[in-house]
């Protein structure tokens, strides 16, 4: 029964990881921008939701605030950091460092405003319900899985059937092709940032209610996103999704064998095994070049 309990928790964690990581993977895969401040997007969304909710405006305004905050931050990063850098041949290094720097700024500004300790979103949805003897599941777990399903279905539909979505998929291989479609590559890149940032919103809100928030958690978010992107295969959205789920499940099921402070080590071990044995990831193309 413990294993089942952990599997369900793992599914919830996995759904959250998948949402976060797919956001990063989508941005990186299509624009080739190493958006290291994706973790900052996550904490901005989480704290905006927390702030509006605690202030008593209700859940719907809080969700809207979190979503618009995330999208605006993603777009601002693209427009005012990455576009200027890429104007003169932005290397991996410059993009990474600038993005990293902004991540530090966001973490500390939020720490100054909201404090550096843990805060948690209070909701009755995080109270566990006994489903069977010894099996406790909070409604939030189902909400997490449902959110992930709905968002991924929408994303799949968008990437598969809309012109913008198809252009997004073509962007990394061939920006010229995007122009042939009659679309502006910069517009498509901005779309990638908006959608990628939006995807972390449900993950951020649910994490706020289940584990609590901390301004420094952006780094954990980035570790998960990077690990899932690599394990799934760089450039593969479905791969990242599966990898996110696998990492969440693995972290949770590992509790059968190790204490909770070692769960991040499990992520690290999986990441290392993949880099060692299958660097192209689950569904990715060759990684060496």
């Amino acid at each position: 029964m413990l294993a089942l309990q952990l599997a369900i928790t793992g599914l919830q964690t996995g759904a959250i990881y998948a949402l976060t990581a797919v956001g990063f993977s989508l941005i990186f895969g299509s624009t080739r921008i190493f958006h290291f401040s994706h973790g900052a997007t996550f904490i901005i969304a989480a704290y905006l939701f927390y702030f509006v909710d605690v202030s008593g405006y209700g859940v719907i305004p809080a969700i809207l605030a979190a979503a618009s905050g995330a999208i605006v931050f993603g777009l601002l990063m693209y427009r005012f950091i990455y576009v200027p850098i890429q104007r003169d041949e932005g290397s991996f290094f410059t993009v990474f460092v600038a993005s990293f720097g902004i991540g530090i700024v966001v973490q500390n500004v939020i720490g100054m405003v909201f404090g550096r300790g843990y805060v948690a979103v209070q909701t009755s949805l995080s109270k566990s319900v006994e489903l069977a003897e010894g099996l406790y599941v909070a409604p939030l777990a189902w909400i997490a899985v449902l959110c992930a399903t709905v968002f991924f279905a929408a994303l799949w539909y968008f990437l598969r059937f809309s012109t913008t979505g198809m252009a997004l998929r073509a962007l990394s291989d061939n920006p010229e092709l995007v122009r042939v479609f009659g679309l502006n590559p910069k517009f498509i890149s901005a779309c990638a940032f908006a959608i990628g940032s939006l995807l972390v919103v449900p993950a951020a809100i649910i994490s706020g209610a289940t584990q609590g928030l901390n301004p420094a958690m952006g780094h954990h978010v980035m570790l998960i996103s990077l690990a899932a992107t690599i394990v799934g295969g760089i450039g593969s959205v479905p791969g990242t999704l599966i990898a996110g789920l696998v990492l969440g499940l693995a972290e949770s099921l590992a509790l059968l064998y190790v204490e909770s402070q070692w769960t991040e080590a499990v992520t690290f071990a999986i990441l290392f095994l993949f880099i060692l044995l299958r660097p192209s990831g689950l569904l990715g193309r060759s990684a060496t070049h």
Partner: protein, 297 residues
């Protein structure tokens, strides 16, 4: 006041060693590590453990720290350097997170969260160095030795290979460079020299715990290198001095909340990193435009 300045000078020279050794792999080999504090920590713990349990002689503690730092760096370098640069960033971030857990859990060696106390002072052939006025010579001399070693390496055929790899991996390979091997050697050298800084730091403070070796430290060292100037000789030292002087400068500004000095410092260097990348990617010391540092082709 004099004690305060002396302490600051010692910390600046220790952090300069960290920045110079990170710059060696970042600026010359194009390897971006978020795990530099791990090797700093390994050096500190390894030398402290040796000093507490076997001998405090610098001729034993330093080699032990360097050897363990070098050996453990292979754990990161061997798998992660065979593949693209993004993988190394991810793997080093993962290692940093894992190392913090190990540093706080492995009580027998690291003392757990509480850390190690009563670390003996540096012992050079029977001479114990613990007064800051004497210790500063030790750290400055070590910094100079590290600078000379790295300077020699950078201007050797090995250093040219590193820079060639940084500028174009495929062209370097096409001219006979065994790219993964060269990168691995550079990481091992960097880790060994970083461990020296850890050993000095531990014996200077006589106390260490995991807080000095967390991700924040790795980030701080990276910021020092970037702000000073990646791939330059003086840049990392200038960066280390600037960022360590920053908190004192902030505390002089009365209108800023004193409890938030740490945060303000981080905001300043975070913003500094982003703005430099847009307007002056070479850093304060570096050339105005770096065109291809970390080029991917």
């Amino acid at each position: 006041m004099e004690a305060y300045l002396l302490n600051l000078a010692i910390l600046i020279s220790i952090y300069s060693i960290l920045a110079v050794t990170l710059n060696f792999i970042m600026g010359y080999a194009g390897i971006y590590s978020l795990a530099h504090a791990v090797f700093f920590g390994i050096g500190a713990y390894a030398s402290s453990y040796t000093a507490l349990n076997f001998s405090a002689s610098i001729f034993i503690t330093l080699p032990v720290a360097m050897a363990i730092g070098a050996a453990l760096s292979l754990v990161l370098a061997l798998p992660a350097l065979r593949v693209r640069g993004e993988y190394f960033v991810a793997a080093s971030l993962g290692l940093q997170v894992l190392a913090v857990t190990i540093f706080s859990e492995w009580k027998g060696v690291t003392g757990g969260i509480g850390g190690l106390i009563g670390i003996p002072p540096v012992n050079i052939a029977g001479l114990e160095i613990y007064k800051p006025g004497e210790f500063i010579f030790l750290t400055v001399v070590t910094l100079i030795v590290v600078l000379v070693v790295i300077n020699r390496l950078v201007h050797s055929s090995f250093g040219r290979s590193l820079q060639a790899i940084r500028d174009s991996e495929s062209a370097a390979a096409a001219f006979g460079k065994n790219v993964p091997l060269i990168k691995t050697i550079s990481v091992v050298i960097s880790a060994a020299l970083t461990a020296v800084a850890g050993a000095l730091y531990a014996s200077y403070l006589a106390f260490i715990n995991v807080e000095s070796f967390m991700l924040d430290t790795s980030v701080l060292i990276m910021a020092m290198v970037i702000i000073g100037g990646t791939g330059t000789q003086a840049g990392p030292i200038v960066g280390a001095a600037l960022l360590l002087l920053l908190p004192s400068v902030i505390s002089y500004l009365d209108f800023l909340p004193q409890t938030e000095i740490g945060s303000i410092q981080q905001i300043i260097y975070g913003l500094g990193m982003a703005l430099l990348m847009i307007y002056r990617p070479g850093g304060i010391i570096g050339r105005k435009k770096v065109t291809s540092a970390g080029g991917s082709k």
